[in-house]
């Protein structure tokens, strides 16, 4: 497979963001944040809606493609495309997209379903693009993971629904968002009541990967002019020195990238609760994670990153 590795490194290539868009309030917030991060001439933005495959028994054997074809014959949009166009209209309101952009359609059959996968691509004269992507897959999470990994996006943004999880067709639930964060090989921002102007709190340790993550997040934060704050938590007083060293290393790595750190804190306490408590003041808590936990292994996972993801009250970005 040609192309760059997933992650945040832009390395002079085009910066690509995929936003899981289900029409919910949180997915609108995620879209606004994506626009902010993507501001620049090199950014491609994809709005993704996944419709799960039909299960024929639920309709007593009548294939839902018959229903969808009937909907189209009335000149109506398919439900997923209707939601995506709502996202497109939001982009127009935000001034990201306008009528001068060229529009193209792409389509492919999936599993014999003639309505299958669809994409509407809008391209600006300056080279930016917006893609409305309606995908059919085994499940919503599978579809998002397929798109993220094959599309090799720099960043995947998924909304964390406000009240336990919406439950319409193609909606993102807590379970789906968690699975995407756990299983995606690239970087995921789980957007939760995402407020744009409070900066990124980057949690670092002495692990080499953590220092690299801090640097790559700094590059993303720089795109939206978001201030960067570093946090290192020592589980006990005896490990405070190591925590301070982690901060120093991360600060140096970010400075090497030509960027500045707005502040740094070293605290002693339980890492999960400390990060969650401290993180409340910021737009995004940034955690690094290098091992994917899939299948039954996730049951035994003891990752601080995922504990923070599950319990935090605001947005969490898992950098890989």
């Amino acid at each position: 497979m040609a192309g760059r590795k997933p992650g945040l490194s832009t390395d002079g290539e085009r910066f690509s963001i995929v936003v899981c868009f289900d029409g919910s309030e949180e997915s609108h917030r995620a879209l606004r944040y994506a626009v902010r991060i993507g501001s620049g001439t090199d950014a491609d933005l994809t709005l993704l809606y996944v419709r799960p495959f039909d299960q024929g028994l639920r309709t007593s054997g009548l294939d839902l493609s018959v229903v969808r074809e009937n909907i189209l014959s009335w000149g109506l949009d398919l439900p997923g495309m209707r939601v995506l166009k709502e996202g497109r209209d939001a982009l127009v309101e935000l001034g990201w997209l306008d009528s001068e952009w060229e529009q193209e359609h792409a389509h492919a059959q999936v599993r014999g379903d003639p309505l299958g996968d669809n994409a509407i691509v809008y391209s600006s004269p300056s080279g930016r693009s917006v893609v409305l992507r309606l995908l059919v897959a085994q499940s919503v999470a599978d579809g998002v993971l397929d798109e993220c990994e094959l599309g090799q996006y720099n960043l995947c943004i998924v909304g964390w629904p406000a009240s336990g999880g919406a439950s319409g067709v193609g909606y993102i639930t807590h379970e789906i968002a968690t699975r995407i964060a756990r299983e995606h090989t690239g970087t995921v921002l789980v957007s939760r009541f995402l407020e744009e102007s409070h900066g990124h709190l980057v949690c670092v340790s002495n692990h080499e990967g953590s220092i690299l993550s801090a640097r790559t997040d700094a590059e993303v934060a720089a795109r939206c002019a978001c201030p960067i704050y570093l946090l290192s938590v020592a589980p006990s007083q005896s490990k405070l020195y190591a925590a301070k060293r982690a901060i120093a290393r991360a600060r140096a790595a970010i400075r090497d990238a030509g960027l500045e750190v707005s502040g740094a804190t070293t605290l002693v306490g339980d890492p999960v609760t400390t990060i969650i408590e401290e993180g409340k003041k910021y737009s995004v808590i940034v955690m690094s994670r290098f091992r994917r936990r899939t299948g039954w292994r996730q049951v035994f996972s003891n990752s601080i990153a995922f504990k923070v993801l599950a319990r935090a009250k605001n947005s969490v970005m898992i950098v890989r």
Partner: protein
């Protein structure tokens, strides 16, 4: 399009992308996790088979029971494609019960299965005729522009149609009507949440409550008709001829149960969702102009209506002689012969795996009867009900209805009747109640799957519109289930005895 975007689309669009991910990123642990319910089902079934059979149940009986438990777990959790469950049932009967494979193959095909097959082909054929705009025009002409009247009209027309042609057909035809009215009222879905819910549920519940009206209204009815014949009919005993339930007999007992519920549906929906607009005059005017642009009905339209009416007349007059299935297949053949529908459309519109699944479920149901497993479960259930005073009369019917309602909300109503039918019919025998009454209660209650999106075909179809949330079904579905159960019990205790059942 920028080359980078083009390249990404080529990588991700369509089948190639999905196969690629399946090859590159899924490991054994992810596979085991995805299929966990399959392995749990096998484990539970295996343990049941190893247990010493309880008193009154043979070893073969416990094997069939274990197979049924496995099938139910797989129906509900869906870890494997559902036609796989059908294949496993067939293999299980041969390997675990030692039944000759030809015998198993014969048990798969019955008039009920032919009916399911034929009615699905008819469904695709009818939807393809594009008569939905005519129907929409008829509704708005009849009801005017008030929201409440339109909802009543949609429920009534959806109900009248789906009582004879199957709720999936009508829901597929009426869904664009409802969506058009919603989008013509406002393009912002959030501003018409209540209106969308009322219109879509009018289609959904209108279809659901009517599917029990006649035998051709749904697969579950044909399955119950088949079970009565299989379980109780003896050609040498005239006393058992009543178990050959014909079209008109079913309609006589069940149609009033549907009609009574129509105003209840509209009242409950309006009370629950409080639509934002009480008049849809703007949307109706636009809808009328859309429909008018179609011009008058052509010869093809009239031919399609004639073929369908002929099929309906044959069901009414000849179903006891030729079977519902043969006539349904005849109707489908007529649509194909007259060129009203293409075979390719029928082939892609029918999920043939589901036909196989129903066939296997019915076959397993017959094994439940033959091995005594159904009787054992029924007797055990009755013993549980006895201390509560629910072991006879109306309380027993209420218990059967509640059991069926519970099961049908977790799986398709046809599958629910296929699984529960043998048990409830044997329950009737054990409790000295009429198998006809208990059978009707089971079949009708299987339509009370109002609480979940997977309970009825109509629910799944309107849910696919994207306007509804699963929570909406719970909110209004509970009220509907209570109302429908009360209507059914009233019919069973008052109307059916008066009508001679």
């Amino acid at each position: 399009m920028h080359p980078a975007v083009q390249e990404r689309l080529e990588r991700t669009l369509g089948r190639a992308g999905q196969e690629r991910r399946a090859k590159t990123t899924r490991g054994l642990d992810a596979f085991l996790w995805e299929k966990r319910w399959f392995f749990i089902a096998l484990l539970v079934g295996g343990l049941l088979m190893l247990l010493p059979p309880p008193e009154g149940l043979s070893h073969r009986g416990i094997i069939v029971l274990a197979m049924s438990v496995i099938a139910v777990i797989l129906f509900v959790t869906e870890p494997v494609p559902l036609p796989t469950v059908a294949i496993l049932i067939i293999i299980g009967q041969v390997l675990l019960l030692g039944i000759d494979s030809t015998t198993v193959a014969k048990s798969l095909m019955s008039d009920s299965v032919l009916f399911i097959m034929g009615s699905l082909m008819l469904a695709v054929a009818v939807v393809k005729q594009k008569l939905d705009k005519r129907i929409a025009y008829f509704i708005v002409r009849m009801t005017g522009t008030r929201t409440a009247n339109i909802c009543l009209g949609i429920s009534l027309v959806s109900g009248l149609l789906s009582s004879v042609i199957g709720e999936h057909t009508v829901a597929a035809m009426m869904l664009p009507v409802a969506i058009t009215l919603i989008t013509l009222t406002s393009s912002d879905a959030k501003k018409v949440r209540g209106l969308a819910a009322v219109l879509l549920f009018s289609v959904c519940y209108g279809c659901s409550i009517a599917g029990i009206g006649t035998p051709s209204g749904g697969a579950r009815n044909a399955i119950m008709v088949g079970y009565w014949k299989e379980f109780f009919y003896d050609p040498t005993n005239p006393e058992t001829y009543k178990y050959l339930v014909d079209y008109m007999t079913w309609t006589l007992y069940c149609y009033p149960v549907f009609l009574v519920q129509i105003p209840i549906v509209t009242a409950l929906l309006l009370y629950t969702f409080r639509p934002e607009y009480d008049n849809l005059s703007r949307a109706v005017v636009k809808l009328r102009s859309q429909v008018n642009s179609q011009g008058p009905m052509g010869q093809k339209d009239w031919t399609a209506i004639a073929v369908f009416l002929l099929t309906l007349i044959c069901w009414i007059l000849f179903s006891d002689k030729f079977g519902l299935g043969t006539i349904a297949l005849g109707g489908a053949a007529a649509f194909l012969i007259l060129g009203l529908v293409k075979w390719e459309d029928v082939n892609s519109g029918v999920n043939w795996g589901v036909v196989l699944l129903y066939a296997a479920a019915i076959s397993l149901g017959i094994q439940m009867k033959d091995t005594g497993a159904a009787l054992w479960v029924a007797t055990s259930f009755l013993q549980t009900l006895a201390p509560l005073g629910f072991d006879s009369g109306t309380p027993l019917l209420a218990a059967v209805s509640l059991l069926t309602t519970g099961v049908t909300n977790t799986m398709s109503n046809g599958a629910a009747v296929a699984v529960l039918g043998p048990i409830t019919l044997k329950l009737a025998v054990a409790a000295n109640e009429s198998p006809l009454v208990v059978g009707f209660v089971t079949a009708i209650s299987s339509a009370f799957a109002y609480l979940t999106v997977i309970g009825t075909p109509a629910s799944t179809i309107v849910y696919s519109s994207g306007y509804l949330k699963a929570k909406d079904f719970l909110v209004v579905g509970f009220r509907m289930a209570v109302a429908s159960t009360l209507v059914l019990l009233l019919a069973a205790s008052v109307y059916w005895p008066l009508a001679g059942l």
